[in-house]
Amino acid sequence: MLDPFQLQFMQRAALEIVLLTPLAGILGAQIVLRHLAFFTHGVGAAAFPGLVVAGPLGVAPPLAAIGVGLGFAAGLERLSRSARLAYDVSTALLLVLALATGVVLASDVFGSGAEVDQLLFGSLLAIGSSELVATAVALVVVVAAAAVFRRAWVAGAFDPAGSRSLGLRIGLADWALVAAIAIAVVAAIDAVGALLVSAVLVIPAATARLIASSIVSLELTAASIALAEGLVGLWIAYQLDTPPGPTIATLGGAVFAIAALTRVAADRRPGAERARA
């Protein structure tokens, strides 16, 4: 059953998943608690045109993607304030703009030679050493950011108004979180693609949110689910000869549905409300 993992490309893919797992726990928890899922999806879409133009412009693809992702976050903040648009409307607007721009740039008009399918849906089975190193660097950066800012992330999300008097640098922490998400998104693009980064950074944490009773358990459960879904999804993709990124995303959606239905059934049991309180 584990024979496929004897193959080197499967081992590299599995290692990529293992490296992404802590990001799914640490950042996934914050994304779900702060309602940043759509934003995260938007950063993934925004990174896409950055990756398309990186090669022709001679810029390192991760740097280009992070730059565009951060630009997306800054533009979103600016658009929401100045145009008085709701945050989700601004996100949708910029997301569509970025995605469409990426597709246009990747066409023959620009002649970038970028593989649109790979950028949008990932290429987990083609992960090389450079991608593994990039993901490891992203992991170190995100873990360091979490070590410094996690308390501010938690307090700021729980109570934005009251947290400012707690002696924490909430504004700086918020920007550090946005940067960390952009870095994690770029790291995940190699595995699952710009359109499916939520499969790693959102869906496992959303599933964990249904059962976790504390923030630490939310982080640990999200990471565990991401690891299990990633490895099982990879194995299924190998067995069925399906693309790994979409397979992992589909598996994640199915696991979430089962967990949600189980939670609904549990909530309907007599005495469930009292037990939770």
Binding site: V148, F158, A161, L166
Partner: protein
Amino acid sequence: MTRRVLIDVEHLDAGYAAGRPAIRGLEFAVPAGATVAILGPNGGGKTTLFRALLGEIPHRSGRVSLGGAVAYVPQTERSRLDFPVSALDVVLMGTYGRLPWYRRLGTDARASAERALDRVGLGAERGSRYGALSGGQRQRVLIARAMAQDAPILLLDEPLSGVDRPSTERVLAILNDLREDGSAVLVATHDIHQAREFDSVLCLNGDQVAFGPPASALSPAVLERTYGGELVVLEDGDRAVVVQHHSH
């Protein structure tokens, strides 16, 4: 003996937009061990004053001198009830600012948080989920978080709104304890009757209308100037009720 002044505000204008300060001409001082009720209509500048004291909005003119750190207790509905945190987790947040990022929350922080919870009468609820507590209990948890900050100045934004009578009495008793500890406690409120229990009252309607002991600051003339067109009903000559025109 003269008590140390913890809050000294002189000729303060503050607001978000230059040229149009939301609060104007504020001038008052609060010593250690004093409670101040801040009265005013919605939009009268109570929260703006707190944000100015916290340094979150620019002072357009005037001066604010603070004799120590400031802890802020927001209205409970501004905190997240769906958050997977216990009452103790929330109070522990009050110790975050004292710890460098590289140090774990130790037994000192935990003991400080537990003491604060005990003082607000919620020691038995330390493991309860914050969102599952009653409105009054949540308010006391947020006050305990402010107490865990060890700040000598506390700002409470309408802590008695939507709170049942037993919880109101608990909160007022806690404020009295804080006063006896030597804290300066400022409380934004709509309740004129409760404001009489405080050492001083600041009436605010964009401009400072009055500041002083309740007996002088809560006169019908001051209240009428403070609340403008909003209805003020005087009962038996010593009670006043303001009927707010809520926009929500």
